[in-house]
Symmetry: C2
Subunit: 122 residues, 2 copies
Amino acid sequence: MSDQLSQVFAALADPLRRDLVSRLSDGDATVGDLAAPYDVSLQAVSKHLKVLEQAGLVSRSKDAQRRPVHLEAEVFDLMTAWIERYRRQAEARYQRLDAVLAELDADGADLPTPSRTRGAAS
Amino acid sequence: MSDQLSQVFAALADPLRRDLVSRLSDGDATVGDLAAPYDVSLQAVSKHLKVLEQAGLVSRSKDAQRRPVHLEAEVFDLMTAWIERYRRQAEARYQRLDAVLAELDADGADLPTPSRTRGAAS
DNA sequence: GTCGTAGTCAACCCAGCAGTTGACAAGGAG
DNA sequence: CTCCTTGTCAACTGCTGGGTTGACTACGAC
């Protein structure tokens, strides 16, 4: 679980943490402000923030005894890149399959272009 | 944790499961095929697949005693939508801040457009 | 100085998850 | 039919994660 991608996904798997991110996208906030709407303890929220910080989604500065929390949007790119990669790959495969099926249909199902059968053919 | 978004994020928080998704984007495969490269038991991989299935990332059909696994790419859209939403929101906020700062700089820091100060002003 | 505020740290509990092994079901193959 | 393959289900273990409470630090206010 040490890789950042795993940490980011794990961090966002919790609804409360996603809500924190959501509210932080609206502007920086202190721990107390963030904790107020929930009925969990301040310490629990502080822990959640630590998880987000560890994942690189959030940074905390130091202003007197206050700890303003700031959203780091760049990390989203990491996820987006990963997601897009496999979505596109999967979509490309479907399109290829569609093309093959269309070709089969057009040719009359007699010459199934026997060159490449990788994948679904078992 | 019942909402799908949480399940999807949690499912992808595991490197092995991400690897399964990665390999499935290359084409359907059986449980045995998928389990082969790892040094964990077949049952463990089957469990991982169940997690992915529960999250809607994967579907299993039935072919004799074989259970071909198929990647469902649509669920990625759910994540992408969530991510994009907050990334754009955060980026927009930065741009607004930049604009305000630029304006301050241009005006000579005497008329800080005192209408809206929400957010970072403590 | 004392008090109150903002937040972290540490210890502890409970639930869930990843991994294991063992037994079992479902279908071909001989 | 029996055997083998493919895979699931069930029970158990160990670890991690989210929650709590209590004590502590750091800073500003009085």
